[in-house]
């Protein structure tokens, strides 16, 4: 048992790193859909915007560039989310599918604009100084940057959970999900809450894009691959649940890492195999949102 653990330690560790990244990516999607009923299919495109911003600021050359990329990406994410909120408002009373189609269209436009601006070549970003080396983990080399990702993911998970569960802002968000009319009747503009939630959700996507750039690089088509992963995480974890997004991300991180290492022959199916299994056993995800939709 100990031998097995030793042998697969790097894969397990890597599963946590990928899981942390997936959490940052998926939690925004989960909050926005779970709380505001907007299925944001432009989430992957926003992620790619972040990755290309990292390319722009040549994030690997200095910490200044990396942090600047993070800051600009956060700002761009906030603004994009706000704009998205305005665009989906007229569709608020229409079925979710209509909004999904709108965001799908937006994601196509964004991806095409990125391809025009940055070209179609694959771009890579090196980790910031100090993290661009590999450290020794149980006799195998492991990239230092991925270790940092685990820390970032945990800190962010804690922060998001604290905000939603323990602050008055979070209470307001939860209240507007449970009963929007009642919140409006108390004099709070529901649309402002929606703008804020979409802004923060989209910000998490662009920030995840910057964080992922040293691992995944930036290239056309990455947005779709990433969106699919985020959707799988959200479905497995349960919509609208922070805890669910965290568990879902960690499960998928291990499936993609340890699972593929142990069962390389079924690597292509293992992700969707897990998804199917969860859907059969727990159709609403492992941790469906605490607040039910009316």
């Amino acid at each position: 048992m100990l031998g097995w653990f030793d042998e697969n330690l790097v894969s397990i560790l890597n599963g946590f790193a990928i899981g942390a990244l997936l959490f940052v990516l998926a939690v925004g999607l989960s909050i926005v859909f779970g709380m505001m009923d907007v299925l944001n299919l432009a989430h992957g495109a926003f992620f790619l915007v972040g990755s290309y911003l990292a390319v722009n600021f040549v994030a690997g050359d200095s910490w200044g560039g990396f942090l600047a990329a993070l800051g600009v990406a956060a700002l761009v994410g906030l603004l994009a989310g706000g704009a998205l909120s305005g665009m989906t408002e007229p569709l608020a009373r229409r079925p979710v599918l209509d909004q999904a189609l709108l965001t799908l269209g937006i994601s196509l436009v964004v991806a095409e604009v990125l391809s025009i601006v940055y070209g179609n070549d694959v771009r890579s970003v090196s980790p910031p100084p100090g993290l661009d080396t590999s450290v020794d983990v149980a006799g195998s080399a492991y990239p230092a940057y991925r270790l940092m990702l685990i820390g970032v993911g945990l800190v962010l998970a804690l922060a998001v959970w604290l905000v939603v569960e323990r602050t008055s802002v979070g209470a307001l968000v939860r209240a507007s999900v449970a009963d929007r009319e009642m919140v409006s009747a108390m004099g709070i503009d529901n649309r402002k809450v929606k703008v804020a939630v979409l802004g923060i959700g989209s910000m998490l996507a662009t920030v995840a894009g910057v964080l992922a750039a040293p691992v995944y690089g930036a290239r056309p088509g990455l947005d779709e691959t990433i969106l699919l992963l985020a959707l799988v995480v959200v479905v497995i974890g349960g919509l609208g649940s922070i805890r669910g997004a965290l568990i879902g991300a960690l499960v998928i991180g291990q499936v993609e890492s340890l699972g593929r290492a142990l069962l390389p022959d079924v690597a292509s199916f293992i992700l969707f195999g897990t998804l199917a299994l969860v859907l059969i056993v727990r159709p609403r995800g492992l941790f469906a949102g605490k607040v039910a939709h009316s």
Partner: protein, 405 residues
């Protein structure tokens, strides 16, 4: 309030609709024409209409750009004429796969009124159109797709190839590594037709030469961003070297992660040349230095034609040429020779002329010839070196002339 809202809705909806339509039009793959289409389809005017089928959208777009540049450069150097005929190029978007590529070629055949076609990156697309091309009797020179079947199981007298075959390139490496006696090799490739052909081609040549395979992994194609799970397989297999085939984004991720996870220093990396070809090499950066690959072209091949070609290409496009550019350049060359030979533009005459061309002695890749309609050519062992800040594939040695296995 309501009026206000509906006004905004209308405006927003319209805006998005228009944008989406604009994008759809860009990616829709309509036939684009370089020169004015005057003259109709008459043969007497001494024009030849050639369809250039290259990816203009999707993951293969960089390859399409290189092919377009190689094609354009040849035409420019030859006054836009092939064997006395004025060339009219009709460009069509191949897209990523046969779902877009096959209709693009259908349109060229039915509406484009073309005499010949050049291009095609994707093997499935090349195989998917073989029948129609044969029926229409319009010669097609495949300028990239490397599937064996294109010129073997699914061969047609009208389908030619100016590029390579997957097993030709991989087999050369297998033979070389077996001769070097480097020990057990771990083999990796994406899990689709080309990857499987490369793995089979390498394994066959390597084991035939007395080598052993330490293990193999076929990674999910297009969805593998992280190679760590498979790299730990390499580590635990005790392999002395790794041989892989990856291209595009996967090539960048793989080479970088191979270095990040410390394998580069312990287990030398070998590959099919596409691993370090073109724009992916710049993105890989220092991680690629020292990687050895086999391919039928390198900018560093030491012959006069190649030196002139590289200079002209750099002057025109301010970047180094790639094998994709050379394949399109050579396709133009053989087509011109065939037109010169036959003096007419019918498919039958062109195909016959292509078959009788013999050795092509003025290609940047060195001399090559059609054997069973696909190149029999020299394959080079290349190593990535840093040349004053630019990464290039230097030629270590010529491994000899290889036909399609």
């Amino acid at each position: 309030m309501l009026h206000h809202l509906s006004g905004r809705r209308l405006l927003g909806g319209l805006g998005v609709g228009v944008l989406t339509l604009a994008v759809a039009a860009c990616g829709g793959g309509s036939l684009g024409e370089d020169e004015e289409s005057g003259g109709g389809g008459g043969e007497g005017g001494g024009t030849v209409r050639i369809g250039l089928v290259i990816p203009q959208a999707g993951v293969y777009t960089p390859l399409g750009e290189d092919m377009q540049q190689g094609w354009d450069l040849w035409l420019e150097q030859n006054g836009g004429e092939m064997g006395g005929f004025t060339v009219e190029t009709v460009t069509a978007d191949e897209g990523e796969g046969p779902d877009t590529g096959v209709p693009a070629i259908q349109r060229l055949l039915t509406e484009g009124d073309v005499d010949a076609m050049v291009g095609i990156v994707n093997s499935a697309t090349a195989l998917g159109v073989a029948e129609q091309v044969t029926e229409a009797q319009v010669p097609l020179i495949v300028a990239n797709a490397g599937a064996e079947a294109i010129t073997q199981a699914a061969a047609s007298p009208y389908v030619w190839r100016s590029s390579f075959t997957n097993a030709q390139i991989a087999g050369a490496m297998g033979e070389y590594l077996a001769g070097e006696g480097i020990g057990p090799v771990y083999v990796m490739a994406p899990d689709y037709a080309a990857g499987q052909e490369v793995v089979a081609g390498f394994t066959e040549a390597y084991t035939a030469g007395g080598g052993t395979i330490a293990g193999q992994a076929l990674t999910p194609f297009g969805t593998t961003q992280d190679f760590q799970p498979f790299l730990s397989g390499v580590q635990s297999s005790g392999a002395a070297a790794t041989f892989v085939f990856y291209a595009g984004g996967e090539a960048v991720s793989f080479v970088q992660q191979y270095a990040e996870f410390g394998l580069k220093d312990t287990t030398p990396l070998y590959g099919s040349g596409f691993l370090t070809e073109g724009s992916v090499l710049d993105a890989q950066g220092p991680a690629a230095v020292g990687v050895r690959t086999t391919l039928h072209y390198s900018t560093e091949i030491d012959n006069e034609t190649n030196t002139e070609f590289v200079e002209a290409y750099q002057a025109a496009y301010d970047e180094l040429p790639t094998t994709y550019a050379v394949q399109a350049y050579d396709a133009a060359n053989v087509l011109a020779r065939a037109l010169e030979e036959s003096g007419e533009t019918t498919g039958e005459a062109l195909s016959e002329a292509l078959g009788g061309l013999g050795e092509i002695d003025d290609s940047p890749r060195g001399p090559w010839s059609f054997t069973d309609q696909t190149p029999e050519q020299a394959v080079y062992l290349r190593e990535v070196v840093d040349q004053d800040g630019t990464l290039v594939n230097s030629v270590v040695e010529e491994l000899g002339v290889f036909p399609q296995p």
